[in-house]
Point group: C2
Chain length 229, copies 2
DNA sequence: CGGATACTTGACAAAGTTCAATCGCAGTGG
DNA sequence: CCACTGCGATTGAACTTTGTCAAGTATCCG
């Protein structure tokens, strides 16, 4: 379900992911030992729909996306926020079991699933890196399950803010690309509880909220304590 | 952290896992194209501890195990119940990020992680199957995250019972090898809520509980409705 | 039979949700 | 430039669900 078109602009990685770093180029981008196709999506666009055939593997170049699963009565669970360097589309089955949507303007590179598997068959390093990406996603998902099942609202928000700070490489300032509703659906809370808990952390002096999308961490130690325990 | 000893008894698979079926033998068992070592653990034994170095990959031959993560105040999240045919120990990092404990007497086969990766390097099919196992775990974990984040107590219990029925290949009778506490920690509930919800489903005529560990599904359709929506 | 363990039940408390109203800010048009 | 509009975020109050604590029952096993 590709509704956007590929841009012709060069793409610059703003984060290298260990051994799997990728190099900017004019039209194509190296990715899993293959020539990936750069694509651009607008804020709100759907890159992958739930139940779509799983034909491609993607890496985020810039921007943020969310993976969503839906339940009846409009209940939604966001599995992960995908940022520069993150991969998605590696499915065990032939169809995607969640949708992927652009939260901001989004640049990705795409390779076909069959080409990736073929490359993995030829090149052991590619196979290993394909496994590594999947295993890392699994690790993140298991960590997230612990949060969803056993943490309180404050601990969830604390963990979330710590995670975002770490992923943005900043110790004390975070720009949140996602709405309160997205945060709520990621943490298994309601938008109101997210809002209230943020205010509560602000009142306690743990964070400051110059704007609703910009968080300043005043007491990182306090946040760590919340997220770890 | 292997506290039990390997048995010398032959091991019989009571479930083949698609293309990755494994064949019983007197002492060693084929597993990911390697010769696996059969091990036996007693009920309650810890096969893997949290933060243990990840040196082996396992497949369950018979019995049931649980994967656990711990938080402070004794809060626990069970990530999965592992039954015959299931794999565990495939970690992205060098240490296990959860413990694995035997719920019943447990037979597993074990191969060393490095041997598995070496085999994957030599044999494309092994590499693919290693990826497949990991991707399947990821899929299950994402499904479980949806349950933990967005389902009510009844829906959680409904989903759990449906899952168990399916895994036991039975449409209407389930033997639960795990305690109410295990179920609670799997579903992100308390033991009391699990108990109450089971009774509630029994009163509604959806299930019967001849004993606390044996569930008869009287209205499978009703359970489906709960778990899907 | 006695003791331990697991499960169930009840009464109450707390955390989080729901519903509704309000605020604040960016964008738009007069 | 300022009022108006729309949307996201915040706040309040009532309510629900689930958790907590405590007691009671069932079951297993020596």
């Amino acid at each position: 379900m590709l509704t956007s078109v590929a841009t012709t602009r060069g793409i610059v990685s703003n984060r290298t992911d260990g051994a799997r770093g990728f190099v900017p180029s004019a039209r194509h981008t190296s990715f899993l030992g293959l020539t990936g196709i750069p694509l651009h999506f607008e804020r709100g666009a759907e890159i992958v729909a739930e139940e779509d055939p799983a034909e491609h593997i993607y890496q985020v170049v810039s921007g943020t996306a969310r993976t969503c699963k839906l339940l009846c009565n409009g209940r939604r669970q966001i599995g992960a926020f995908l940022m520069a360097g993150d991969y998605f589309g590696m499915e065990a089955r032939d169809t995607h079991c969640f949708a992927v949507e652009a939260i901001t303007d989004l640049h990705v590179v795409m390779v076909s699933r069959s080409a990736a598997f073929a490359a993995a068959g030829r090149d052991t390093a590619v196979a290993r890196s394909l496994w590594d990406i999947t295993a890392r996603s699994l690790d993140a998902c298991q960590q997230h399950a612990l949060l969803l099942g056993r943490k309180t609202a404050v601990e969830k928000i604390g963990s979330f803010l710590s995670e975002m700070a770490e992923r943005q490489g900043s110790d004390d300032e975070i720009d949140l690309p996602m709405s309160r509703q997205d945060i709520a659906d990621y943490l298994g809370l309601t938008i109101e509880t997210v809002s209230r808990t943020m205010t509560q952390l602000e009142s306690a002096g743990t964070i400051a909220l110059p704007t609703s999308r910009h968080v300043v961490i005043k007491r990182p130690h306090e946040l760590e304590r919340l997220s770890l325990c």
